[in-house]
C-alpha cells in the first residue's frame, strides 16, 4: 500500500454494493452549471457566428432557399467531391491507426531511453503548417530530394523515380505524418495505465498473446481508440492544406470546394450548403461515436507507469521495437530532419552540377547559419518585419492563452460527461462539442465577421479573436482526451472519499484530479501544439505587426528568392524547436503532490 489511492481502494471493500442507477446521484443543477461555461463559449463564438453566416449566405440565394441545396446535390462533381472527402478520410484514419497503435503499444508498455524525445518529435509534426510540411517532404521526396537523388545515382536513372506531390499517396502520407501523434498520445496514455495483470489473468486462463489482445486489451482500450479515430477522421475529413498543396488539382474535398466557392466565386449559398453538409457529417459521426463509447467506458484499476512498464528484455522484443521506431522515424522524423538540415545548409547551383543531372540540381556546399542571421535583419525597414524573438513571443502568448482557456472550458465538460453518461444533457451536448472541429474554417471565419460586429463583441479586428478561434479547435481535444480517463475512475473511489467526509470539490481535487493528471498534461500539450501551428484563422485575424510564427513563415515562403526560402526554412526549424521544447516542458510539469502517475 504505497499510495493514498491504494489505501482508499482498500477501504472500498467495506462499502456495500449499490445498484448502478442509484449510484452517487448528483444534483442536476451542478451538471447544468458546469456545462454552462463551455456552452456559453460555444454559443457566442461558434453557433452565433455560424448561424449568422449561414443565414446571410442563404439570404443571397437567388430563388428559393432550396435552390442551392438542389444545385449541390444534383451536381455530379459535388457528389464526387463528397465521396472522395469521405473515403480519403476513412483510409487516412485506418492507416494512421495501423501505424499509431503499434507505436502506442511500444510507448505504453515499455521503458527505454529517448521515449520523451520520440513523443515530442511526433508531436512536432502536428504543429507544422502545410506549406512547411510540403517543403519538408519535398526536401526528402521531391524530384531532387534526398531519396530520389540517392536512387538516381545508385541506379543510374535519368528521371527521378519517385513522384511524390500531386498524388493520393502524398495526401495519405501527409495525413499519417500529421495525425499519428494523436493516436500515440490518446491511446498510448490510456494503455500505459492498463493493469498488465489483466493480461496475466487471461494468460493463466489459457489465452495466448493474440487472444489476450483481442478479447481483453482491445475491448478495454476501445474508448481511447475510438476517441483517437474520431479526431483523426474529423481532421482528415476537413483537411485543407494537405489536399491543396500535396494532392494538387486532381483532388478536391468539401473544404477545398468551400474555399473555391467562397473566395474565388463568392457563391455563398452553395458554399453554405457544402459547409452544412460537412457539419452534418461531423455531427452524425460524433453521435455514432458517443453512442458506441459511452457504453464502453468502465471503471478500470489504473496503475502507475512504474508498475505497468518494463524494459525490453528479449532480442526479439528489441528487434520489433526497432522496426516500429524505424517506421515512426521514417515517416515523421525524417522530413523534420530534412527540413532542419536544409535550413542550415548551403546549396549552390553550378555549371558542373548541371551537366550531371540535366536540371541543375543544387549541390550541398556545407553548413551555414546565414539563414538564421538574416531572420534578425529588417532589410527593407519594412513595417511588418518581426524578429524571430517577437514571433516566438506572440506564438507562445497565444498558445498559453489557448491552453488555459481550453482547459478551463474542457475540464468541466469532461467531468460532467464522465459522471452520468447517459443523461439527456450529456447525450445531446457531447456531439455539439465536436462540431467546431468539423466546421469549415473559411465559413466560420466569415461568420465572425458577420456576427461579432457590435460592441462589446466587436472583435472583428481584435487580436483576442485569435486565442478564441484556437480554443474552439483545442477544447474539443481537451474534452476527448480527458473523458476516457475520467470515466475510468471507479465511482466507488469517489464514494469512499465522500463517505469519509469529502465534499464534491474535495473529491474532485483529491480523487479525480490526480488520477487524470496525466491525461490533463496530454490535453494541455495538444492545446499548445494546436495553437502554435494554427494558420488559417490566425491569418485572417492577427495584427500584421505581431505575426505568429506560421504567419511569418508564410510571408517568407510566398516570395521568390533563395534567401526568403532559406529564412522560411530557418523559421520553420525554430517553430519545430519551440514546439518540441514546449511539449517536453509540459510533460515534465508535475501537478502538485502527485509524482509520476
Amino acid at each position: 500500500m504505497d499510495t493514498r489511492v491504494d489505501r482508499d481502494r482498500a477501504a472500498l471493500k467495506y462499502l456495500p454494493a449499490m445498484p448502478h442507477q442509484a449510484r452517487f446521484k448528483r444534483p442536476r443543477l451542478t451538471s447544468i452549471l458546469l456545462w454552462l461555461a463551455p456552452l456559453i463559449f460555444l454559443l457566442l463564438f461558434y453557433f452565433y457566428p455560424l448561424g449568422s453566416i449561414l443565414g446571410m449566405s442563404f439570404a443571397r440565394a437567388q430563388g428559393s432557399i432550396l435552390a442551392p441545396f438542389i444545385e449541390a446535390l444534383s451536381s455530379a462533381s459535388i457528389r464526387g467531391v463528397l465521396w472522395f472527402t469521405f473515403w480519403q478520410a476513412l483510409l487516412s484514419t485506418l492507416l494512421t491507426l495501423a501505424i499509431g497503435l503499434p507505436g502506442a503499444y511500444l510507448l505504453a508498455r515499455y521503458e527505454f531511453r529517448g521515449k520523451s524525445i520520440i513523443k515530442a518529435l511526433t508531436g512536432i509534426a502536428f504543429v507544422l503548417p502545410t506549406l512547411v510540411v510540403a517543403a519538408a517532404f519535398n526536401a526528402l521526396l521531391g524530384p531532387q530530394g534526398l531519396v530520389n537523388s540517392a536512387l538516381m545515382s545508385t541506379f543510374g536513372l535519368q528521371q527521378p523515380p519517385i513522384h511524390f506531390t500531386n498524388t493520393l499517396t502524398a495526401i495519405l502520407i501527409a495525413h499519417m505524418f500529421y495525425n499519428t501523434t494523436i493516436v500515440l498520445r490518446l491511446v498510448g496514455d490510456f494503455w500505459s495505465r492498463l493493469d498488465p495483470r489483466l493480461g496475466q489473468a487471461a494468460a493463466v486462463l489459457g489465452a495466448n498473446k493474440w487472444s489476450t489482445l483481442r478479447r481483453i486489451t482491445l475491448p478495454l482500450l476501445l474508448p481511447a481508440i475510438a476517441s483517437a479515430a474520431l479526431l483523426v477522421f474529423i481532421f482528415t475529413f476537413t483537411s485543407f492544406g494537405v489536399i491543396l498543396v500535396l494532392g494538387g488539382p486532381q483532388f478536391a474535398t468539401l473544404e477545398t470546394e468551400i474555399y473555391y466557392q467562397t473566395v474565388s466565386l463568392f457563391n455563398l449559398p452553395l458554399a453554405a450548403v457544402l459547409a452544412l453538409i460537412q457539419l452534418v457529417c461531423t455531427l452524425a459521426l460524433t453521435i455514432i461515436y458517443t453512442r458506441l463509447v459511452s457504453g464502453l467506458s468502465r471503471p478500470l484499476s489504473l496503475r502507475p507507469t512504474h508498475i505497468t512498464q518494463r524494459k525490453i528484455s528479449t532480442w526479439r522484443g528489441r528487434f520489433l521495437a526497432g522496426i516500429v521506431i524505424l517506421v515512426l522515424m521514417g515517416l515523421i522524423v525524417a522530413p523534420l530532419f530534412a527540413l532542419g538540415f536544409r535550413s542550415i545548409s548551403n546549396f549552390e547551383r553550378t555549371e558542373s552540377s548541371t551537366a550531371r543531372q540535366g536540371y541543375g540540381a543544387p549541390v550541398w556546399r556545407g553548413f551555414t547559419l546565414e539563414n538564421y542571421r538574416q531572420l534578425n535583419i529588417n532589410r527593407r525597414g519594412s513595417l511588418f518585419y518581426a524578429s524571430p524573438a517577437t514571433t516566438i513571443a506572440v506564438s507562445l502568448g497565444y498558445a498559453g492563452a489557448t491552453v488555459v482557456l481550453a482547459i478551463l472550458l474542457g475540464l468541466p465538460a469532461a467531468w460532467v460527461l464522465s459522471r452520468r453518461r447517459s443523461s439527456f444533457l450529456n447525450r445531446s451536448l457531447d456531439p455539439l462539442l465536436m462540431l467546431p472541429l468539423g466546421t469549415s474554417a473559411v465559413t466560420l471565419g466569415l461568420g465572425f465577421i458577420v456576427a461579432l460586429d457590435k460592441p462589446p463583441l466587436d472583435l472583428r479586428a481584435s487580436p483576442l479573436l485569435v486565442p478564441l478561434a484556437h480554443t474552439l479547435v483545442a477544447f474539443p481535444f481537451v474534452v476527448r482526451s480527458l473523458t476516457p480517463a475520467l470515466r475510468s475512475i471507479s465511482p466507488r473511489l469517489r464514494e469512499a472519499a465522500a463517505v469519509m467526509g469529502a465534499n464534491p470539490r474535495t473529491v474532485f481535487r483529491h480523487v479525480d484530479l490526480p488520477l487524470v493528471a496525466r491525461a490533463l498534461l496530454v490535453a494541455a500539450a495538444f492545446a499548445f501544439t494546436i495553437s502554435l501551428g494554427e494558420f488559417g484563422a490566425t491569418a485572417l485575424i492577427a495584427r500584421p505587426e505581431y505575426p505568429t510564427i506560421p504567419l511569418a513563415i508564410y510571408r517568407l515562403i510566398t516570395r521568390p528568392g533563395m534567401q526568403n526560402y532559406g529564412q522560411a526554412l530557418a523559421l520553420s526549424t525554430i517553430l519545430m524547436l519551440v514546439a518540441g521544447l514546449g511539449m517536453l516542458a509540459i510533460e515534465r510539469f508535475r501537478i502538485a503532490d502527485i509524482g509520476e502517475f
Binding site: K13, Y14, A17, A203, L205, G206, I216, L220
Partner: protein, 374 residues
C-alpha cells in the same frame, strides 16, 4: 513423481534475492500452503510456477516433465490473484467462461459448468451480474469460480482472503476448504495468516526472506518448529537465550530463568546447521535458544520441572487465559485453558511441566538475532 515439483529455484531482482534454493513438492489432490510474512517471496514463487515470470536457476516440473519454456497459457494452471483482477468489461458468466472458451468448450457444456461452479461457490444465479457492482465477498467468489471452472491441474491462490473482514474471512476459509476438497483440486494456497494456512492445508511451507524454513503438516509444524523463526512466527513464546553443555548425554541449559538439567532422550538434541547431531560427549559450551511452550505448562506443581514465579497480569481471551508470569525477573507468557482458574496479579505460583512436552532447543547461528523475548 506426480504432481508439482519445485527444485532449487532462485530468483533475484536487482540487488534483492527474492527466492533462494526453494524446493518442495505438491502431490495430486494435496493442498499446500506457502506461509510467511510479507516480502518472503510467496507471490514471486506463484508467478514463476504459473509461468508469468522465470527463475534464474532451478526447475519447475509437473508429473516429472519440466515446464521450462512452456508459456503461461499452456500450463493448465489456475491462478487467483490477490486483488482478483476480474475483467471489468465482462459480466460474471463471461468472466467465468473465459477459461472455458480458451479450452474451446461447447457453449452448452460451458453454461453447465458455469452454473455448477457458481453453485459451488454459493452464488447461484449470478450469471448476468456486472462484476463492477459486486460486494467484496461476492467478487472474491467469482474470482475463485473463474479459476476453478477450467479444472486446472493445479490451482494457485494468492492471499485470496486478504482484504476481507474477519467474520467473512473466517466463513469463507471453511467454504474454500470444502470446495477444494470436493473438487479434489491440487492447490497452492499462499497466505501470511497462520490460521488460514492451518485450516486449509495438508502441508505448510513456511518461508522467510526467500528461503524455506520448514515444510510439515500443520500439527507437526506447530509441535516441532524447526527454527527460532518458525517458533516466533507461530507465536510460540518464551524463547530464552542460554548456553548448553552436555555431560554423559545429559543436557545442561543455563538461562536467565534458571538452570535446566534435562535427562538424556527426554527431548531431541538440537540439530546443527549442517544437520549433524551433537556429539554427546562434547564438553564445550554452545549458545542455544530454549523454547518453553506456553501451552504445555500447568499450575499444579506436578511434573519433572518446576518454576516459581509471580503473576504479573492475566488476560481472559475466551477459550484461553493468557498470563504473564515473572520468573526470576523475566516475564514469561503462558496460556491456560479457561477452565483453570489463574491466580490474580501479585500472587505466587508454581509452574510444572514435562521436558518432552514443553521444552525444545535450538542452536543459535549467526543468521538469527537474539531470541530473548521481551
Amino acid at each position: 513423481m506426480n504432481g508439482l515439483s519445485i527444485t532449487n529455484v532462485h530468483k533475484r531482482f536487482g540487488e534483492i534475492d527474492a527466492l533462494i534454493g526453494v524446493s518442495f513438492e505438491v502431490a495430486p489432490g494435496e493442498i499446500v500452503a506457502p506461509l510467511g510474512p510479507s516480502g518472503c517471496g510467496k507471490s514471486t514463487l506463484l508467478a514463476i510456477i504459473a509461468g508469468l515470470d522465470s527463475s534464474d536457476q532451478g526447475d519447475v516440473q509437473w508429473d516429472g516433465v519440466s515446464l521450462a519454456g512452456i508459456p503461461a497459457h499452456r500450463r493448465d494452471f489456475g491462478l487467483m490473484f490477490q486483488d482478483l483482477v476480474l475483467f471489468p468489461h465482462k459480466n460474471v458468466s463471461e468472466n467465468i467462461s473465459f477459461g472455458l472458451q480458451m479450452q474451446h468448450v461447447q457453449k452448452e457444456d460451458a453454461d453447465k459448468r458455469i452454473a455448477e461452479v457458481l453453485e459451488l461457490v454459493g452464488l447461484p444465479g449470478f450469471e448476468e451480474r456486472d462484476v463492477n457492482t459486486l460486494s467484496g465477498g461476492e467478487a472474491q467468489r467469482v474470482a475463485l469460480a473463474r479459476s476453478l471452472a477450467p479444472r486446472p491441474r493445479l490451482l494457485m491462490l494468492d492471499e485470496p482472503l486478504g482484504s476481507l473482514d474477519r467474520s467473512l474471512r473466517e466463513r469463507l476459509v471453511f467454504d474454500l476448504r470444502d470446495i477444494l476438497r470436493q473438487s479434489e483440486q491440487t492447490a497452492l494456497y499462499v497466505t501470511h495468516d497462520q490460521e488460514e494456512a492451518f485450516t486449509l492445508a495438508d502441508r505448510v511451507v513456511l518461508m522467510n526472506t526467500g528461503r524455506i524454513e520448514q515444510i510439515d503438516t500443520p500439527q507437526d509444524l506447530y509441535r516441532r518448529p524447526a527454527s527460532v523463526f518458525v517458533a516466533r512466527f507461530l507465536g510460540l513464546n518464551n524463547l530464552l537465550d542460554g548456553t548448553l553443555q552436555t555431560h554423559d548425554g545429559n543436557m545442561e541449559v543455563i538461562t536467565q530463568v534458571g538452570r535446566f538439567l534435562i535427562p538424556p532422550h527426554e527431548i531431541d538434541l538440537p540439530r546443527l546447521k549442517d544437520d549433524k547431531y551433537l556429539d554427546s560427549d562434547e564438553d564445550d559450551q554452545r549458545p542455544v535458544t530454549l523454547l518453553l511452550r506456553p501451552d504445555a505448562v500447568s499450575l499444579k506443581a506436578d511434573g519433572s520441572f518446576q518454576l516459581y514465579g509471580t503473576v504479573q497480569e492475566t488476560t481472559f481471551r475466551g477459550s484461553t487465559c493468557r498470563a504473564v508470569i515473572l520468573v526470576n525477573g523475566l516475564p514469561l507468557r503462558f496460556d491456560f485453558p479457561a477452565a483453570v482458574s489463574v491466580p490474580g496479579a501479585g500472587e505466587a505460583v508454581t509452574l510444572g511441566f514435562e521436558a518432552h512436552q514443553a521444552l525444545q532447543l535450538f542452536f543459535v547461528d549467526s543468521a538469527s538475532s537474539s531470541a530473548q523475548d521481551r
